[in-house]
Structures are given as structure tokens and as C-alpha cells.
Amino acid sequence: MFSDYTSAELVSIFAMQGFAGLILFSVFVLMALGLAIIFGQMGVINMAHGEFMILGAYITYLLSSFFENNLPSLFSIYFFLAMILAFIVTAALGALVEWGMVRHLYRRPLDTLLATWGLSLILQQVYRSVFGAREVGVTLPDWMMGSIPLTDLVEIPFNGVFVMILTFVIAVSVYFLMFKSRFGGQVRAVVQNRPMAGAVGINTQKVDRITFAIGCGIAGIAGSAFTMIGSTGPTSGQLYIVDTFLVVVFGGAASLLGTIASAFTISQAQSTMEFFLSGSMAKVLTLLVVVGILMIRPQGLFALKIRR
């Protein structure tokens, strides 16, 4: 299939393709991080993760129309404010959900699955009633939608670069939070041995609540960022949830590093195969490979060695 092209064209296409893979990688990491924290650190399967993301997207939508109508001079930077607000609101909702629902179900992991799935349906219908069944269009500042043309084949899209930087910043922050801060130490202590952590004076309930809130908050930021590349509607969250679970489970449920490694593997495999095969076949093959590997290694790529 490459015989018709010059070598310069091939080089630039492979460069573009590598870049597309990196963007997909960043998107996967961004959407999986929040879930990985909750699933990995607390063992709670949050089926409403996609709906928390879309809450972030709707907040971005509200702010975009607010700034467009009231503060057009600041429109070009509203997006940063939107992300911060998205984090705060989704984190607050996350804390509320943890308090009202999830904490009663910690000993019944299968029930959390059902309960959060119910929550996702409720949230979808709430979005539908409040914002209407139709998708909403989030207007973005022009500088975010452009691209830098390097040659006539190679163009670097701004939104891709933006997502990559954002993912990097959030991943590093999560790393510091979990592994370098006092709070992170408490979280890991609770994960490893809940009664013992309680015995040495860690308020395990508070740790749970904050962890859940942070996971949801990161989902909100991801949703806010994804208004650049995807749709915002009541059921848009469902578009992401399958890939998200795939990444987290494949990575090993309790490991952030595993999440990143699995996001990298899946995104590169998928974007390479999409280039050579059709989109649907690429997806089928990716799923087959993941299922195959999980059959040999059910704990995922990376697993913490802890005493249960």
C-alpha cells in the first residue's frame, strides 16, 4: 500500500500517526485516572464515571455561554476557569455521593456496581431534563481549534497538544499527591490494611470521602477537556466508559503506573491498527488482545503485592 508514495510523504505520515497515538494515549490516561484512583484505592467500581465527566463538560458549556454573552473580553481564557470549576463541582458531587450512597456499600462491591449504575441513569435523565435531549455545542476560543502546519501533510493540532500537557500535569499532580504527600500515605495505608490504619489514628472515613471526591473531580476535568474533541450530551459519558474500564482493568486495578502503561499499550495498538485496518476491525483486535492477556494474567499488567 505504500508503493505509491514518496519517502518524504511516508515519514511525515508516520510522524503524524505517532502523534495521533500520543493524543489517544493522553485521552485514555486522562479519562482513566479518576476511575483508577477510585477503583484501585477503594475497590469501588464507579459506573457513573462517564456521567461525572459529562457534568464537567456541561459546566464548561454553561461557562462558555456565560462568558460569550457577559464577558466577551475574557472569552479566550474562560476554559481554564471552566476546568477549575468543573473539578470543584464534580468533586463536591462525588463527596455527596460517597456520603449518601457509596459508604454504605463498602463491604458489598457488587452492590456498588449496581448502585452507581443506577446513579448514572439518574444523572443522564437529570441532564436530559435540565439541558434538553439534544447535544449542546460548546464554543471554544479560536486559538484552541487551530493547528500549526509544519509541512502540507504534517499539522500539529492545538487541542491535541493541550490535552497532552493537561494529562501530564494531572498525572504528575496525582503522583505527588499519592506518593509524596501525607494524605497519599494515609490513602495507601487504608488500602493496605483498613483496621490497622484506623488503629494508628487515620480517619478512614474521611480518607475514603476525599479519595472518592478527587477521583470524581479528575473525571470532571477530563470531561471539560473533552469538549474540545467530542460531544456533550446526556448520554455522551457512555462513549468513554468502556474504554476507561478497559484501560483500568488491563493495567491492574490497584496501580496508577499500570494504568498509564496500559493506556499506552492500548492506544498505540489501536491507532496503529486503525491505520492499517478499518476502524471496527481495529477495535475488535484490540479487545481480543486485551481479553487474551487478561486470561493469562487476570490481575492485569501491574499488580501490587500486598497481604490481603
Binding site: I13, F19, R128, E135, S278
Partner: protein, 422 residues
Amino acid sequence: MSINLKRILSLFTAGASCDQSDRRLILSFYLSLWFLLSAAMVNASVNTTGLAVTDKEVTVGILHSVTGTMAISETGSVQAEKLAIKQINDMGGVLGRKIKYIQEDGASDWPTFAEKSKKLLVNDKVAAVFGCWTSASRKAVLPVFEQYNGMLYYPTFYEGLEQSPNVIYTGQEATQQILAGIDWVVKEKGAKKFYLLGSDYIWPRTSNKIARKHIEKLGLKVVGEEYYPLGHTQFNSVINKIKLRRPDVIYAIVVGGSNVAFYKQLKAAGIDPRKEKPLILTISVTEDEILGIGGENIEGAYAAMKYFQSLPNENNKRFVKAFKEMWGDDIVIGDVTQAAYLGPWLWKAAVEKAGSFDIDKVRAASPGIELHTAPEGYVKIHPNHHLWSKTRIGRALRNGQYELVYETKELMEPDPFPKGYQ
């Protein structure tokens, strides 16, 4: 009916003594019997099959998804059908009877559609149903409509390959939408190389098959054909492939939320529809979808369908005005919404021509029914139950509307089983 039949039976058979409440019971029983009989007598001429028709009212059904994934698309159709029913009632109704509708929610779930259509036909005995949107939901209700002999007015443009005596298809079938669009882009824009792209299910695949046959008949080239799962959100790889193959036209039949991702990423990757290099021609993006995509991301792309909100004729101006009065100023009207609006009007015309609500008579009267007041202009029902209609090309504007750039001179004949295209 709140009559205790058991009690009445016992009064008649066992000669049980009557107190006052029993007498009231018997009276109400006779009264309702009388009502039923008299209604049947008056209606006998226009309703011989026991449909829900009284001398003042006729009941129809509206069956769309107002919850679930498809609510985004089907909401417009529900609004259009309610508007048409309201306007018909304001004009005096059908055969002197006001239309009353029973609305059921298909909930974006195909078995639910089948169940609700059975409820409408068997329990409610509706005289017609306006509904369904996806082909999957239509296929799910089809056996029900054929078994219980109902009449469905189906609004969506679809892949063809179907012709049921129990369905009137008010949207375009595939060849009507596709052939004229490709001819136009070849003739006016000198297109030679096409890249076909779609979501992975029956409508895009069948449509692209027809498009490919037509392109190859014209002696031109298809340089790529690809399908992505519904809900796919990452199109960077295919955009790279498109860049490498350098087509003149991207023929896109991407649907739902994927649409938004596709056009945003296309623009971000430097393929600006306004430059027409390559040109983008779609048959799946109406004004409804542009709301989600954002006019600034799709400005300059072309769409081939039969209706745009901006059509300049008088019928359409009246229709848009009435629609906005009923549903609010910021609403948009897409191709399918207009097709849904035709349903009640076509049914009314057929009923009046037949002089009866009977399904069989309405069916027999349907071919040849004309509608001069359609917002898209003049339409006519073909004996194959599809509509003769024009195909139009619109160019997307920044404000989310299309401007009309071309329309076929003649009405396109519907051809649900196109020879040589299968």
C-alpha cells in the same frame, strides 16, 4: 369502565335483590351500552374495523424515544408531529373529527418499540401511528404492524430495501439522497476521487454501497471506504489516512455523538471544510446535529438531503414560523423533523380521499396523494409507499444553518430496491 360486571351478572342470573346502588349499577350499564352502540352506528360508515374513532374524535399514536440515546434525534420528530396535529385540529380535524394522540416512549430500546406499538394497535386501537426513527426500531415494529394491520408513518431518511403495505415512508430512501448529491459534486466541483466513511451499521454501509456503485459507474475512483463503531470518538488515524490518499471528496455518513468528534478533529487536523480541499459531502448531518458539532467546526461542508430550514419558499416560511411559535425561538428544524411533519398531513389527505379511517381503505387511497403545502415544496406518494421529492444540496454556515446551493429540477422517483446498486 368502572362497572362491576360480576355484580351485574349476579343481579341478572340469581335474581338477587336490588338495593339503590345496584339499580344505579344497572342504569350505568345500560347507559354505557347505549353509548357504545350509538357510537358504532354513527361511525359505521367511516370505521368498520373498530378503531378508536368517535363522532368527535379520532385517536392516533406517536411512538418515539424521548428517553435514552436516541432522544437527541427523535425529539424534533415528536414536536413536528404534534404541531401538524394541532394545525389539523385548528382547521377542523379529519372528516370532522379532532385528532387526539396517545404518546408512547420507545426509550431507545427496540423491544420496547415493539411492545408499545402492540399496545397502541391492540389496546388503544389507534387509527395511525407516527413514529420510529432508527431502522432498527422500524424493523422491530414491522411484524406488529403487519400482524395487527396498523399504519405507520416513518420519517427518517433510510437505506431502502423495504416496502411494507403497513408503512408510509416520508423520508428519502438511499438512492434519492445519494445519486443526485454525487452527480452534483462530480459536475460542479469536478470531483474524481472519493473517500467513503461511515458509522458501522446498516444505513451507512448500504448507502456507501450505492454511492460506490454510482461512483464507479461514472468511471471515477473510490480511494478508501471505512467504518467506525457507533460512539467512536477518536478519528485521528483515519484523518491521517485521508490526508495520505488525497481524495477530492470525503463522503461522510457518521452519526450520533461520533459526528461531533469527527468534525472537531477534522478541523483541528487542518482539514478545514471551507477550503474544499478535500470537499466534505455528508448525508447524515442536519441542522439538529450541527447544534452539537458547532457551526464554526463544520462551516463550508455540504449536505445532500431534501429539506433545509432555510428553504426560501412560502410554505416553509409559514412552517418555520409556526414551529417556533409552538416550541420556542432557538429551536432548529432538520430534514427528518420536516418529514415527520408530513406524516399527519399525508394521513389526513388519504383518510379524506378514502372517506374512511379503515386501514385498508387508507392504504388503497394513499398512492397518488399529493401535498402542495409541504414545507419542502410539493410531494406525492408513490405506489411503493415512498415519497417523490427533490434532492437538495446545502452548504453549512457558521450560524448552524444551511444555505441552498442546488436542487434537482425534477422530483426524484423513490426506488427502494435499486437495480444494479445491490
